[in-house]
């Protein structure tokens, strides 16, 4: 008989957690086997060696400073990117002139390789600001195209309902337009966060931004400290996953509160 506290929902959660842990354990074992087969720490360090390097790093002030500053720089670029991308989407769906001017530019930015931007921007922008700028550039076209698509797909029948019941532009915006676009916006934010991290760290590596994860990665590589390269990479992945989780959770909470207030 099933325990009264173990609801099917909880059971599903436990199953998912166990599956996730099992998969992680499998890949750790694979990593261990590969490192044993290669038998060269310089090429593939064992998980235990990387863990040791990571635990050494997190005891230093430089680790926290680098991680914190990278986080700040990339988050700044990401936030500016989602604001600019959303505004661009509103403009391109509202005004034909804005669409004619901005859409080709944003498509061009989306198609250009990130390395080209990093190298070009290195000439114009201070190294400390470059990761923010690159993250911003990568996020803007993604948010723009998603939000634009969301605005174009707002159900006209719901807008007609809002018109008939004279909800007014503000209530229509809050209760019809924004919730309609929200899934597109959230998908862009989740994908954009990963992209901002990858491009931001790449920019830090190339421009050697002071006190940054990218700079630490580059230094570790130059000094042939492969376990440290792995440890910094794990840091980047963990921070990225953590932010993504935070984003998804807060969006779900925000959405719930949003809906509960309707009609008051």
């Amino acid at each position: 008989m099933m325990n009264s506290t173990t609801t099917p929902k909880n059971k599903n959660k436990i199953n998912r957690l166990l599956t996730g842990l099992g998969a992680a354990a499998f890949w750790l074992v694979m990593w261990q086997i590969i490192s044993m087969l290669v038998a060269q720490e310089l090429l593939v360090p064992a998980p235990s060696v990387v863990l040791k390097a990571l635990s050494g790093l997190i005891r230093t002030a430089e680790f926290w400073q680098s991680a914190g500053l990278s986080l700040l720089r990339i988050l700044l670029g990401f936030l500016l990117g989602i604001i600019t991308g959303s505004l661009a989407a509103i403009l391109t769906t509202r005004f034909k002139v804005a669409d004619a001017l901005l859409s080709p530019l944003l498509r061009l930015v989306r198609a250009t390789p990130v390395a080209s931007f990093i190298i070009l921007a290195l000439v114009w922008i201070k190294t400390g600001n470059l990761p923010s700028f690159i993250s911003f550039l990568m996020v803007v076209p993604l948010v723009w195209s998603n939000v634009e698509s969301g605005i174009k797909h707002i159900d006209n029948r719901l807008l007609e309902m809002a018109r008939v019941y004279r909800l007014g532009w503000f209530k229509t915006l809050i209760f019809v337009r924004i919730p309609s676009v929200m899934p597109y916006f959230m998908a862009a934010c989740t994908a954009g966060m990963g992209l901002a991290w990858k491009s931001g760290i790449a920019a830090e590596v190339i421009c050697r931004a002071p006190l940054s994860i990218g700079n630490q990665l580059q230094s570790a590589k130059t000094h042939l400290e492969t376990p440290e390269v792995f440890a910094w990479t794990i840091t980047v992945v963990l921070l990225s996953l953590m932010l993504e989780k935070l984003l998804v959770t807060s969006a779900a909470r925000f959405g719930k509160r949003f809906n509960a207030g309707g009609g008051n």
Binding site: R163, L167, N259, G262, G263
Partner: protein, 199 residues
């Protein structure tokens, strides 16, 4: 003041006329049932009455300062809002109180906080009706309002409509004569396009 269509023209594509010099005077109060074959222009007529379309010729008078409530053919509920919030959204003042009262009257007690996606087709229909009845309006437009509802239920809802709109105009589109009779509606048989009618 009665709503009057005076030689109204309307076409979606500029070629095929749905309304061609169409004239019709609606009574100031009471129920009118519009019936006719699919595609004859009933929905276009309702859209013109709701102000969702503008006539391309002629005049619709009597609608300058009055506003409708509309039970659309599809429910048009906001899927991200609960049944209660969907109704409360269109209410005046403390929307939730009025919304709760109307949801109770259409037999949705205990389902106020459910989302439309969690409810059956008939329940969603009743939310759409409750929304229309809760909204402050001068006349009521009903497009196949009782589709998917059991007879005792739609009869009781029809009684509520007759009560609230006793001194106002109700315009209903339906293919089911019984539905028209439940509101004591005067039946206008439509044909077209272009739209024509006979009593």
């Amino acid at each position: 003041m009665a709503i009057v269509f005076n030689e109204v023209d309307f076409s979606y594509d500029g070629i095929n006329k749905i309304l061609d010099k169409f004239s019709l005077a609606f009574p100031e109060k009471g129920a009118v049932c519009l019936s006719g074959p699919s595609g004859c222009g009933k929905t276009t007529l309702l859209r013109l009455l709701a102000g969702l379309e503008k006539p391309q010729g002629g005049i619709i008078s009597g609608m300058e300062s009055i506003h409708p409530a509309f039970v659309f053919q599809e429910n048009r509920l906001l899927p991200w809002m609960s049944a209660l919030d969907n109704v409360a959204l269109v209410c005046e003042g403390d929307g939730r109180v009025g919304a709760e009262k109307w949801l109770n009257r259409v037999g949705l007690v205990g389902n106020e906080h459910k989302m439309p996606g969690e409810l059956s087709g008939g329940m969603k229909r009743r939310i759409a009706i409750a929304r229309a009845l809760a909204a402050p309006a001068d006349f009521l437009i009903l497009d196949e309002p009782f589709t998917g509802l059991d007879k005792p239920l739609w009869k009781s809802i029809a009684d509520h409509i007759s009560d609230i709109y006793a001194d106002k105009l109700v315009i209903m589109v339906t293919h089911i004569t019984e539905h028209a009779y439940s509101l004591n509606a005067k039946v206008i048989k439509l044909n077209g396009p272009p739209l024509g009618y006979k009593y």
